[in-house]
Amino acid sequence: MDIVVCIKQVPETGEIRWDLETGTLIREAAPGVLNRNDKHAIEAALQLREVHGGSITALSMGPPQADESLREALSMGVDTAVLLSDKCFAGADTLATSYALSLAVKRIARFDLILCGKETSDGMTAQVGPQLAELLNLPQVTYATGISIHDHSVRITQRLDGGLRVLEASLPALITVERHINQPRIPPMDSIMEAYRDKEVQAWNLEDLGQGSEHFGLKGSPTKTRRVYRKEVTRGTVTMLKGEPDEVARALIATLKGKGRL
């Protein structure tokens, strides 16, 4: 069972995590972090490897610093890491991103399964999984909360539309996973050290993918961002209710009743 896991490094603010002990936000010092959903995809791959053997490749496209996220995947236990990085890849929309990833997967060649997180915390489009499946002509199953392998097929529990479905897909296939699927392991310090000291992240550029630069990045993207602007969300002025909690509560209830909302 050879698996490719597609991962992305996302801006840190996209990954807001909550310290349940203190009720405060955890903010990583690093500017970029591994997309949280992707950790669940890596974990799912590691668990399948434990049962069925085989090897796992983590694949990412991004600027050179995305190397860190691939090291994180290596420290969790993936066997190989590949980073697609080239100036030509910059500014890609979901289709151009999927195209570059599809060429890389074809170059990796040996795989039975591609796993992705459900969506990234920055773009949140959830489009790259389905588009990669299409470009590789693979069956796709999104929103997986369970994956098991049976002979030459994969069985997936899918959370869809307020219900659950059990689907069977032929292999190879592409699956995007929900967070409920597992609890990603936290790599021990020596694995992290090893990932940085002894392991290699293969860097592939435009030449390695064997297609002209016009297919990638901004140029290869059917969608264009025409304008980005600030939108202040305002509506009239706010009336602050002040005082002790019970006073405030009474004032609020009276107000809501007065306005016919209760």
Binding site: G23, E134, V141, T142, R159, R226, T234, R235
Partner: protein
């Protein structure tokens, strides 16, 4: 030949009824089609879905393309992609609108990839550019209160997904006539690579969040599961539905279908109460059109106070219990049996001349 192709809306359906978002998109599609002077089509795929056609026409479609085939009984990405993409290649729509439901978000990107065109996810506004006639799709952009206008200048159709509740439902015209086109599925079961072995439907709650008149939402400021449960209790006492920002959902305290915002639902209740909600655009995009907005937050600088009608600066764990206490006192006073007992008691006392 017409300068532009038609506008298409994907007609999602469940239990023989069109999804509300598809009807919302027919309203939005109507505006776009009038602007371009083209016709509006709905495309429905499934088994025994021809019955949907009339309703889709009443909601604005001029034409309904129906692929009615037992092979399409259950939603399967590849089957639906094949049928819809074949029709799109044949009929060349200019614009294709898809509801950003779990199914729409699975289906639209795959169709876009097959047609080698762009698909802009989770748009909050759509309009036609005066000069070029291209569709300008507005969506919240990563970062604080940033919006982006996205276009797909060269490829067709211009595809977008729109979250449920973003577009307002337009009027239904039960006198409207339209055309029905049957499309072949042109697919055999042997060609499919995914089989549905089992479907377990959850019992859907009586009222979807989008339709609720009152919504109480929990944000990261609730701090803990206990804080979250307080908000749940408040929602119950107010007769409100419980909603959340993405954090309580990610922590697993509440299911995904309670998420409000850019990647969740868009609501327009008469009353919205945000408990520990900061008001970042990822959430506010889904609730800004609420009637009356009440915000409870410890941070006086929280974004939500910029657009709330009533604000309370304070900890959810102190303010919410106080509101719960006051509501319970209120209920007691208004409780019929209490009043009857009270009246009876005073009558007895009166009888004894006290």
């Amino acid at each position: 030949m017409a300068r532009y192709g038609d506008i298409w809306v994907y007609a999602e359906h469940k239990d023989g009824k069109p999804a509300r978002v598809s009807l919302e998109l027919l309203g939005a599609g109507r505006t776009l089609s009038q602007r371009l002077g083209v016709s509006l089509s709905a495309i429905a795929v499934g088994d025994k879905v021809s019955e949907l056609a009339k309703e889709l026409i009443f909601w604005g479609a001029d034409t309904v393309i129906v692929a009615d085939d037992p092979i399409a009984r259950d939603y399967r990405t590849e089957v639906y992609t094949r049928i819809i993409a074949d029709q799109a290649l044949k009929r060349r729509p200019e614009i294709f609108l898809v509801g950003a439901t779990p199914i729409g978000r699975d289906l639209a990107p795959r169709i876009a990839a097959r047609l080698n065109t762009g698909c802009t996810a989770d748009c909050t506004d759509l309009h036609i550019d005066e000069e070029t006639g291209v569709l300008v799709a507005t969506k919240p952009y990563f970062g604080r209160n940033l919006m982006a206008d996205i276009i797909c200048p060269a490829q067709r159709p211009q595809m977008v997904t729109v979250r449920p509740g973003v577009m307002e439902l337009q009027d239904r015209d039960s006198g409207k006539k339209g055309e029905l086109i049957h499309a072949d599925a042109d697919l055999r079961e042997e060609d499919t690579r995914v089989t549905v072995l089992e479907t377990v439907r959850e019992i859907s709650e009586s009222e979807p969040l989008e339709a609720a008149e009152r919504v109480v939402a929990a944000g990261m400021g609730v701090g803990s599961r206990e804080g979250f449960e307080l908000v749940r209790e408040l929602a119950g006492l107010l007769g409100a539905r419980l909603g959340a920002t993405s954090l309580p959902v990610d922590e697993g305290w509440i299911s995904e279908d309670h998420k409000i915002g850019q990647t969740g639902k868009t609501i327009r209740p008469k009353l919205y109460v945000g408990c520990g909600v900061s008001g970042a655009i990822q959430h506010s995009a889904g609730m800004i059109n609420s009637g009356l907005i009440v915000a409870i937050n410890t941070d006086p600088k929280a974004e939500i106070f910029q657009f709330a009608d009533y604000g309370i600066i304070g900890d959810v764990k102190e303010i919410v219990p106080a509101i719960i206490r006051q509501l319970k006192i209120d209920t007691k006073i208004n409780d019929g049996s209490f009043m009857r007992r009270f009246t009876r008691c005073s009558m007895i006392l009166t009888a004894y001349g006290t």
